[in-house]
């Protein structure tokens, strides 16, 4: 499975792209970095990775013409945003002033540091609860995934949420809308279950091909 599928990894100069490449290579899935908006449509699916800050990332996407490029392919192929990549799919973020891509009716807020002993960044393994869409096939409820973030996604539209997690407060750690998916954790750094999630995404791409 996957050998005839080609995944584009959107390259906008953000953090740990190599880890995503390593994970797809390990799964035997063809993948390529892509920064040219003209060729996005050639892939069977796209991954928007990312660590870093919201405004820098939006600037960097828009300087490369990738905001328009992504907008024009968004209904034609499955897209997975990871970590900051998920946050960019939302309408706005407290981390910055720029609007996000706005594909998913959700917003990004800073993790509240309240009187409890909550440390920010939320860094480490945490449970992913009540996961239910195709990305979580063969992944049990309450599986641990690796998180690294200081901002989190919230939404008023519960139908978008496909898994939630808790760090002090509850937040959306996975959402989907049609073939647009976002995960706050790092599947490429979450061992066997993370690789299963990426394989599931590849299978979604295969089904849409």
């Amino acid at each position: 499975m996957g050998s005839d599928i080609s995944i584009g990894i959107v390259d906008y100069n953000a953090g740990n792209i190599q880890s995503v490449i390593n994970a797809l290579d390990y799964l035997g899935v063809q993948n390529q970095l892509v920064s040219d908006p003209e060729v996005l449509a050639q892939f069977d699916g796209l991954i928007i990775p990312g660590v870093g800050s919201f405004d820098d990332a939006m600037n960097s996407l828009s300087n490369r013409g990738l905001v328009d490029g992504l907008n024009s392919v968004k209904n034609t192929l499955p897209i997975l945003g990871i970590c900051l990549g998920m946050q960019l799919l939302c309408s706005s973020s407290e981390e910055g002033n720029k609007p996000g891509l706005g594909w998913v009716d959700a917003r990004v807020k800073s993790i509240s540091v309240d009187s409890q002993k909550i440390k920010v960044p939320h860094m480490g393994w945490n449970q992913v609860s009540e996961p239910f869409n195709p990305l979580f096939n063969r992944i049990p409820d309450e599986t641990d995934f690796y998180f690294v973030h200081s901002y989190c996604v919230v939404t008023d539209d519960a139908s978008l949420t496909t898994a939630h997690s808790q760090h002090g407060e509850e937040f959306v750690c996975a959402f989907s809308k049609g073939d647009i998916f976002g995960v706050q954790f790092h599947p490429e750094k979450s061992q066997d279950h993370g690789l299963t999630l990426l394989q599931n995404f590849v299978e979604v791409c295969h089904g849409k091909k």
């Binding site: 190599q18 390593n22 440390k119 920010v120 641990d144 760090h167």
Partner: protein
């Protein structure tokens, strides 16, 4: 809630895994870094830290190649560092597959570099290593592989680094390194109360109980090096011990 983490630190000199004792890295462990990483990840370790302690900067390229090789099949987070003294080298480690950088001397000698790395990569990518030793009974932070005291105590230094916006602190008492008596719990506890970012304790673990002591003193994550190299299923057993003691940690299992 986020779980406590067990971290395996792998100390590398000239491409070989070495044992560390009071920062004298003389004993080559006859074990490739790739095998160490393979085993620890199979045994449920939560994270890997790879530190290059080569005596001069000539080891930079070799270390980067090692990192690139190791990270291809390592699907837990990898932190790498040692000899990060310019932007290009730091970024080249990230593009070689590590997820975070660990810096020590640069925090004191070149804070501007650290700030630029944070701006470029985000604070969660920067782990600040604090080495300290007791001089006339007082803990003093040292840089340059533990050789140069900077006249600041670890608690004040941790607060300054928190203000500098690093993502985590990796705290090591040089006097405890390789001494098998557990972490320096008093300073660990003071530092973890003084800052709001996660603290990783390192240095001196000889029994699983020492890991538990570190977490109870306030560490968010506990790291060790030497001990994991000499026990079959080491990191899995360590986690089982912590879990049985009631620690909230990712379940130990054999992961293929």
């Amino acid at each position: 809630m986020v779980k406590n983490r067990l971290i395996a630190s792998i100390i590398v000199r000239d491409g070989r895994v070495v044992q560390s004792e009071r920062f004298k890295h003389t004993n080559v462990i006859h074990y490739d870094a790739i095998h160490a990483v393979d085993n620890f990840t199979r045994w449920s370790v939560d994270e890997i830290v790879l530190i290059n302690v080569s005596r001069d900067s000539n080891g930079q390229q070799q270390f980067r190649e090692l990192l690139s090789y190791v990270s291809k099949k390592c699907f837990v987070p990898v932190t790498a560092g040692g000899w990060i003294n310019d932007m290009d080298y730091g970024l080249s480690l990230i593009s070689s597959g590590c997820d975070k950088l660990i810096v020590n001397t640069a925090l004191h000698e070149n804070p501007d570099l650290v700030t630029r790395l944070i701006q470029r990569l985000g604070k969660q990518c920067l782990v600040a290593s604090i080495d300290y030793k007791y001089i006339e009974g007082e803990p003093v932070v040292c840089v340059d592989r533990g050789e140069k005291p900077i006249g600041v105590d670890p608690v004040s230094w941790a607060k300054q680094l928190d203000n500098m916006a690093v993502g985590e602190i990796y705290l090591n008492c040089i006097d405890h390194d390789g001494k098998r008596k557990g972490y320096d719990l008093e300073v660990l506890s003071q530092v973890s109360r003084a800052v709001s970012i996660p603290i990783i304790a390192f240095g001196g673990v000889f029994r699983w109980q020492h890991l538990l002591d570190g977490l109870e003193a306030g560490a968010d994550a506990v790291a060790a090096a030497n001990i994991f190299h000499y026990t079959e299923h080491a990191t899995k057993k360590a986690k089982r011990f912590l879990m049985d003691a009631g620690i909230n940690i990712r379940e130990p299992r054999f992961i293929n």
